[in-house]
Symmetry: C2
Subunit: 214 residues, 2 copies
DNA sequence: CCTACCGATCGGTAGG
DNA sequence: CCTACCGATCGGTAGG
């Protein structure tokens, strides 16, 4: 009966943090993503974790602390993975790699992504400030690649930079609504996504043929 | 002191519904959009409307009924306005008109749009079914114009239709996060948006020059 | 639309 | 991590 707890305790010794705490955060991530922060009660989380509601407070200070941790580490994940994809020199290829990376992070845990994208509103003003700083850094990755592309001529120069970033990030973030959890983003999806973003919907056959030839 | 109520009562006579009910829905729209459905209490709404919590139930059956009304009429608005823009014959121009129309509906009431996009999750299964039907009809408008464009050659033929629709609608829906309420969508924003969606971010100078000449 | 109220649930705590 | 509990707030109702 207590086997799950025993396994947890074993893992517990190996790492620094309590494994129950890790489980709590995982469960909270799922529920905050599915039902939203105000729609999830401490009791909901406790029940799934398998402890009594009050016992949660042996591992966390309060409910908002869990939200902050999920949102903050969630953005960090995007910054790490997409940041690593933004080293590529050629802006066009860099943007493609960033799109694929962003989609892979969302697909790895869409519920976490949903919390990152929507539940930060329920943080206190002070905590929202922390989060906003990270979000701005993330947006900068995309702004930079578009600027670099405009400079070297591989990306469009005449477009409205702000709108371009909003369209790209908007369509990427919306993927959390339809990407199935755990599905490795297959080449097809990322490729199709990049095609729409990079080349748009309008037929531009001459440009493509020209590019293909040389 | 009771002047607001008197004015409401006067308006009340002119239309069918109670004006208090209309005010309630407006307030609920704002709060559901800003704080989410579970994060908004009946008491929050009542306080702003200026009546006591229990008095709300003279005008509605329950809290979810308000949500359903807001979501349902919200989607109807998109269907009407964007549907009217989808009569244009040329697919490229039609899509541009639809993008502009969608953005204008969001800008007219971003909070309502937020409720439409995110709060439908809190409806009962039965009510979600109603909503999903309308959402599908809305997505069909966009799928159709992309298909029509592929057929007549003005839009790209090789792209993944599903992904294309998701990218377009994703970026459009995300606009509710950044569009300021009441701002008429200026030509610049809608034009820039259409440019990114239609032509993409990749420089395609040859195609553009070719199109301009012919 | 108010008065007066209901049972249920909420986030959180003291003490072990 | 449990026992036992707190005050506050929740959606909603009967009767006027």
């Amino acid at each position: 009966m207590a086997d799950r707890r025993e396994v947890n305790d074993a893992l517990n010794a190996e790492r620094g943090g309590s494994s129950t705490r890790v489980t709590m955060i995982e469960v909270a991530t799922r529920l905050f993503g599915e039902r939203g922060y105000p729609g999830t009660s401490i009791r909901d989380i406790a029940e799934i974790v398998g402890i009594l509601p009050g016992s949660l407070y042996a591992h966390i200070g309060n409910k908002e602390e869990m939200l902050l941790e999920i949102v903050s580490s969630g953005i960090d994940r995007f910054l790490e993975v997409v940041g690593a994809s933004s080293r590529e020199a050629d802006p066009r290829e860099r943007l493609k790699a960033m799109i694929r990376a962003h989609l892979s992070v969302v697909a790895a845990n869409p519920q976490s992504a949903q919390v990152v994208f929507h539940q930060w509103r329920y943080l206190s003003e002070a905590n929202q400030l922390l989060v906003r700083k990270k979000r701005r850094a993330y947006e900068r990755l995309f702004r930079d690649v578009i600027i670099d592309g405009a400079v070297d001529g591989t990306l469009e120069t005449e477009l409205d930079l702000r709108i371009a970033v909003l369209v790209v990030l908007g369509s990427l973030n919306w993927s959390a609504e339809w990407l199935v959890a755990g599905s490795n983003v297959d080449d097809g999806t990322a490729e199709a996504f990049s095609n729409v973003i990079l080349d748009g919907l309008a037929a531009a056959k001459f440009a493509k043929e020209t590019r293909r030839r040389g």
